[in-house]
């Protein structure tokens, strides 16, 4: 996983509560066996009209949304289906972080695993960030967002934060604990043999 330490980029504001993963990436794109290539389907039903043309009213179809690397979203971002295609699509589009007042649990975990930062930001700060035109610098070490000389704090789960800062390969890290897993399995074989 690519580490996330500090990032500066433009923001796209789509602040609406309960942005679910069906909306982020509709089911017809889940038949893929790849992780890549989902960016062009991100927010498909909002981004494209019935005839397949872009809807110019949608934030990702105009600047700065088109070249944004930060997405400002509403509370309970990423609720619903566990599809990891949601963070894959966001990252494939170019997003490195989602800034929102709260996240659904499964989406947040999926984001961390892919190097996409789910940053928890107070609604007032989010509104201020959306209203100002400047690029935003996200500093995961300092847990701050800086824009046009103003600074706002954000929160991030400690375990996810360290994984992002290190660019941790979690499977590799767990495999280093194999003796503990084997000991657990040996104990379970006698204590709960039916499992």
């Amino acid at each position: 996983m690519i580490p996330f330490i500090r990032h500066t980029g433009k923001a796209a504001a789509f602040i609406r509560e309960n942005i679910d993963t069906d909306l982020i990436i509709p089911k017809q794109f889940l038949t893929t066996i790849l992780r890549s290539g989902l960016g062009r389907h991100l927010f498909h039903d909002l981004r494209y009209r019935e005839d397949g043309s872009e809807d110019p009213a949608f934030v990702l179809n105009r600047e700065p949304g088109r070249s944004a690397t930060l997405l400002l979203g509403g509370a309970n971002f990423g609720c619903g289906s566990s599809r990891e295609h949601a963070p894959w699509a966001l990252m494939d589009f170019g997003f490195r972080a989602v800034l929102a007042p709260s996240f659904a649990d499964i989406f947040r975990t999926n984001a961390f695993k892919n190097g996409l930062l789910p940053a928890v930001v107070e609604p007032e700060a989010l509104e201020a960030l959306a209203a100002a035109p400047g690029a935003i610098t996200v500093d995961l070490e300092a847990l701050t967002l800086a824009q046009d000389g103003r600074t706002y704090p954000f929160a991030c789960e400690p375990w996810g934060r360290s994984a992002l800062l290190e660019g941790l390969d979690e499977i590799e890290a767990t495999l280093r604990r194999l003796p503990a897993i084997e000991a657990f399995e040996a104990r379970r074989r006698t204590e709960s043999a039916w499992l």
Partner: protein, 468 residues
């Protein structure tokens, strides 16, 4: 004094990792075609093996056709869908993970076949790359949905790094009135606590009304815990649980069964165990529920009217109601029973089990679906289908003008060709009424199987109590 969740968590900790997280051992892993291909690809790229293939069970369900199954995978029309199911089959053969092929009589939705096969057991941890894995919590198992990276992590290590959830008990008092069931109850609970009300919590459903539910009703309840934001729903195992499991193909037997029973009986929350949050519901006056909006929390009694956004409790709620009503094509204050339906969907991991089909058939027996209404009945598994046919339910459905299909997820998420056309209104026994969930611009009303059947007959959303 511990809760059921505490006991499940603590008995699976391999190692504490700090920051409120632990390495948790995973006993059971359900695998399906949509969320697993990238995980197997990841293992191959890293040269890693599947650590315990026997702890997994795989089946294709999300993406499979519910018609013209005879030619199996080769009969899947969409080439990318076909490739995905073929990829699952190839990955399973290489591991090898126990796999139920498309044409096997046991094929069905992961969350239906896990319990049906006795794969899901009390006191175990169950994961699957699907958010409705919470279903298995009905057995007193710690069950939760995961993403594909976590699927890969479980395959490689048989563990997951997890953050401990907080305890939330939902006490349900009273007896469910005629015409209501587990689906109405869970919709009401989500309406009460909101779709993020359970975020960060494990929800334990307790109380007299929950004890009174059979296993299938308990599964419906836990299935939709995720629609309240909770990855995990739980019901304490009891005599009902054990009676359901006894004799299932993958459940323990003989001396091992007795040993397991002793352990399972110690699982329920201790009297006086502390919960971080508690919510009480009295169901004695519960009415059949129906969602009117685009989130499961936007729910009302069938005798109600759609809300008026300006009367909402908060400005944000009013804005959301306004946009939901516009999407749904409903006027503020409109009586819900005025809404004409185009499609009725009976099935899914929420309501695709035998008792659900019996409930729908009871309403449809001797009646006919209203002209112009398409009714899809999709059993949750091949075994459910066979049992239903043995009871003659398929005949009841066919005589009522319904389509009797092959098992799969079908129109719950509309990944196959069972989907709504723009503007079509559907009474659905599934779990999500999100915008576009059942097809672009489709309009979904979540209801119980009995209510779906009533809507089919009336051609509008209807109060099932008038049909009983």
């Amino acid at each position: 004094m511990k809760t059921l969740y505490d006991k499940l968590w603590e008995s699976h900790v391999v190692e504490e990792l700090g920051d409120g997280t632990a390495l948790l051992y995973i006993d059971r892993h359900l695998v399906h075609e949509v969320t697993s291909p990238q995980a197997f690809e990841g293992l191959r790229m890293a040269g890693r093996a599947v650590r315990r293939p026997g702890a997994a069970l795989a089946v294709a369900d999300h993406n499979v056709p519910t018609r013209q199954r005879a030619s199996g995978i080769a009969g899947i029309q969409d080439p990318t869908s076909r490739l995905q199911v073929e990829t699952l089959e190839a990955n399973m053969a290489a591991c090898p993970i126990p796999y139920i092929p498309l044409l096997d009589p046991r094929q069905g939705i992961v969350h239906i076949i896990g319990p049906e096969q006795g794969f899901t057991l009390p006191g175990s941890t169950v994961v699957c790359g699907d958010s409705h894995t919470s279903t298995h919590g009905a057995f007193g198992a710690l069950a939760f949905g995961i993403g594909t990276s976590e699927v890969e992590h479980v395959l490689a290590t048989q563990t997951l790094v997890q953050k401990r959830a907080r305890n939330f008990r939902i006490r349900v008092d009273g007896a469910l009135p005629r015409g209501t069931g587990a689906k109405d109850l869970i919709l009401r609970i989500i309406g009460d606590i909101g779709m993020a009300g359970g975020t960060g919590f494990a929800l334990e459903f307790a109380g007299e009304a929950v004890r009174g539910l059979g296993m299938e009703g308990r599964m419906t309840l836990c299935n939709m815990a995720i629609e309240a934001g909770a990855r995990t729903g739980l019901v304490a195992p009891d005599a009902t649980t054990f009676a359901y499991l006894a004799g299932r193909p993958m459940a323990p037997s003989g001396a091992l069964w007795e040993e397991a029973l002793r352990a399972w009986r110690a699982l329920p929350s201790d009297p006086g165990a502390a919960f971080d949050r508690e919510h009480r519901v009295d169901v004695s006056r519960l009415e059949p529920q129906v969602t009117w909006g685009t989130s499961p929390e936007q729910v009302a009694a069938i005798t109600d009217r759609a809300p008026r956004p300006e009367e909402a409790a908060t400005e944000e709620k009013g804005r959301r109601a306004e946009s939901a009503l516009a999407y749904m094509g409903i006027r503020p204050g409109q009586a819900l029973q005025e809404l004409a339906v185009d499609v009725v969907f009976i099935g899914s991991c929420t309501n695709g089990r035998l008792s659900d089909l019996r409930e729908a058939a009871q309403v449809l027996r001797g009646r006919r679906a209203a002209p112009g209404v398409q009714v899809l009945v999709v059993p949750g598994s091949g075994l459910v289908k066979a049992q239903a046919e043995a009871e003659g339910l398929d005949r009841v459905f066919r005589e009522a003008g319904c389509e009797w299909r092959e098992p799969g997820c079908s129109m719950c998420l509309a990944m196959n060709d069972d989907r709504l056309l723009p503007g079509q209104r559907c009474a659905s026994t599934s779990n999500r009424n999100f915008e576009g969930r059942q097809g672009r611009l489709g309009r979904t009303h979540l209801v119980s199987p009995a209510m779906a059947a009533a809507a089919a007959v009336r051609g509008r959303l209807a109060d099932v109590r008038e049909f009983l």
